[in-house]
Amino acid sequence: MSFSFISSQKISGRTIGGAQKIQMEGVRQSALEKAKGRLVLMSAFFVIAYGVVVARSADLTILQGALVQPQEENIYEATQAVPQKQIRGDILDRNGVLLARSLQTASLFADPKLIQNPERVAKDLSEIFPDISYGAMLQRLQGNKRFVWVKRNITPQDQNKILYLGHPGLNFKKEMHRVYPQGALASHIVGAAGVDGQGLAGIEGGFNDLLSSRDMPLHLTMDVRLQHVLKREIAATVKEFNAVGGAGVVMDIENGEVLAAVSLPDFDPHDFTHVKDNKKFNRFSLGVYELGSSFKIFSTAALLEKNNANMAQRFDVRKPLEVGRFKIRDFHPEKRILSLPEVFIHSSNIGSAMMGQEVGTQELKNFYKDIGLLDTPDYELPEKGAPIIPSPWREVNTLTAAYGHGIAVSPLQLVSAAASIVNGGILVTPTFVRSEKSQKESSMRRNVRVVSPQTSHRMRQLLRLVVTEGTGGKAEVNGFLVGGKTGTAEKPGKGGYNRKSLISSFIGVFPMDKPRYAVFVMVDEPKGTKASFGYATGGWVGAPTVKRVIASIVSILGIAPSVEVDDNGNRFEESLMRHVKTKQELKQERLLNAALKQEASLGTQ
């Protein structure tokens, strides 16, 4: 402001208390007053603003604080939502029954630096957890670390006991723990997960990535009810015959869905890391065995399919079949000429070897490959046993492979191959998981035909004959047209086969006029009993077990009993009966021969 500007203004002054107060007039006065007003306004604004803040603080702390009652305090009060962790997916059976689920548990950890009396704390904890010794506990609590695990996945009751103790330095961490409500029932199918939730075996291992990445449930084809029945009966048989173990499969032969699969001994999936290896071993999918006469299903089907064989074809099984230095004998020699159905129902090794010889090595190998017996199978479990096939495959191997020796496959492979033959001739592969993808793949495979419908029908009749007239009589369930094939094989040992170590099995299919389900039971090293007259073959061990399984599961599966004869009074296998001498006819024949012999001897005298 220049002095000249000031001098142009009218400046008046007056004296107040000896000092001269200068009053401004005109433009200067209005400017000052304006500034003064603005300052007042700004001050008022800030005063109001601070007043609002004070009022709100008083409201939050005094007014609302006084109104909130202790019992109304929300225990879920949080400024932030607890982020939901990715939970491992559930595993369910085909009906939605829970097989595996991850649940939240508390894991106890300690901060040794905060524990003032480690001896007292160790004593209290070892009383709550008797499996951890006082010394081991004390050692952990006296360490220099700031974090030591005391026990993981404890029960709520134990958690309450620890909270009641009130020791500082002990705290809990929430973890997810895998729980198996069905226990050991389906342990070899479901498998187990480790402490950190990683799958270690079975479906848990095979689908580890899928289960970890999504919380949608995984539906299996298994039915816990059928699984329980199968396990119960196999366990009873293993106990009755004092066997080493057993295995069994129930399969839907139309689509290969595995409804039940058991391997004994089994394990508790909650304690997988401490289980012995023999219990973890999966006998129905990983173990491969020479299953013996069950293979005659495939050699007979190969003869019917490849060579268009006639049921009237005869096989002379009166003498052992010699091939080089090998002699092939029958377990129960019939010592007569047998028809094709009789070779099958009496389980003649000689007759089956002749069938294999007639089919030829390459054709038999091709047939076995077509039905999936020579390749490692493809299904959802990581436990897959590769078949043991003769290498090199010589002519003698063709003969032995025709009656199930010298070639080892898993029970699951055998069942799916048999299913492919009796279901009308369409290839099926086993599946444990119900999903759109597996159903699509299954429908694609339905287009692969392995045998003609006529061969399939003949095989159904032959299997039915085994039960009505042959070695599988103990598998018959009245009203359900059970068909099947027994299998008894010696286990290979040092220097050859061990005659006292058997693999006894039976594969049953029902109802034979419209087959839908296959039941396979295998028992490892059964010992004959008094009730079985010392026998431990497939007919004495496997067949009765399959009978009990079928009799129990028909009501679960909703299969009604049916009459065994059609409207004309004919049995299902009637057309083959003219090629088969029944037990009665054989008995009469033997009596007649004995009478003729006696007459002849009397005549010579």
Binding site: V52, R56, E77, T79, A81, V82, Q104, R232, G479, A551
Partner: protein, 158 residues
């Protein structure tokens, strides 16, 4: 001294400030409520998961089999005597439902005058439901159990 526009501007600024403050506080309050509900829902979901797992644990087939044998004397579902075919004939006829398949017609006394007058209204088919007796509401005050027993008897059951 103070222009009207200035005063208005200050008032507007104050109101906007207050509104902003109130909105911010409301949002924070709502967020807190949402977090509380979210945590509550998570805990309830976990409880449901535990309960459903416990339900399936209690319904294990081996446990049910044991309980049914112990308490109901129900044994395994097969017999050495193979009585299946004979047992088929003993399966009883299915129980007839007490709820009729079609909606029962109202008695004539309850049909409105307009319905009887309207000739365009098609007459309802008079179907005879001889095998199903109509449900009769009790006139007197009866217990619910007596009522159930009554209608069960009327439907032909035991």
């Amino acid at each position: 001294m103070f222009r009207l526009s200035g005063i208005m501007a200050v008032m507007l600024a104050t109101v906007c400030g207050a509104l902003l403050f109130w909105t911010s506080q409301s949002v924070q309050k709502t967020e807190k409520k949402v977090n509380e509900l979210s945590n509550y829902a998570q805990n309830e979901e976990e409880t449901l998961r535990v309960l459903s797992a416990e339900w399936d644990y209690l319904n294990r087939p081996e446990r049910l089999e044991e309980l049914s044998y112990k308490n109901l004397n129900i044994n395994q579902a097969y017999s050495e005597k193979d009585v299946f075919v004979e047992a088929v004939a003993e399966i009883p006829e299915p129980f007839m439902p007490i709820i009729p398949a079609i909606k029962p017609q109202a008695p004539a006394a309850f049909v409105s005058f307009e319905e009887t007058k309207n000739k365009d209204t098609p007459s309802r088919p008079q179907e005879k439901l001889s095998h199903i007796r109509p449900v009769v509401m009790p006139e007197n005050k009866q217990t619910f159990e007596d009522f159930l027993n009554g209608i069960t008897t009327a439907a032909g059951g035991e």
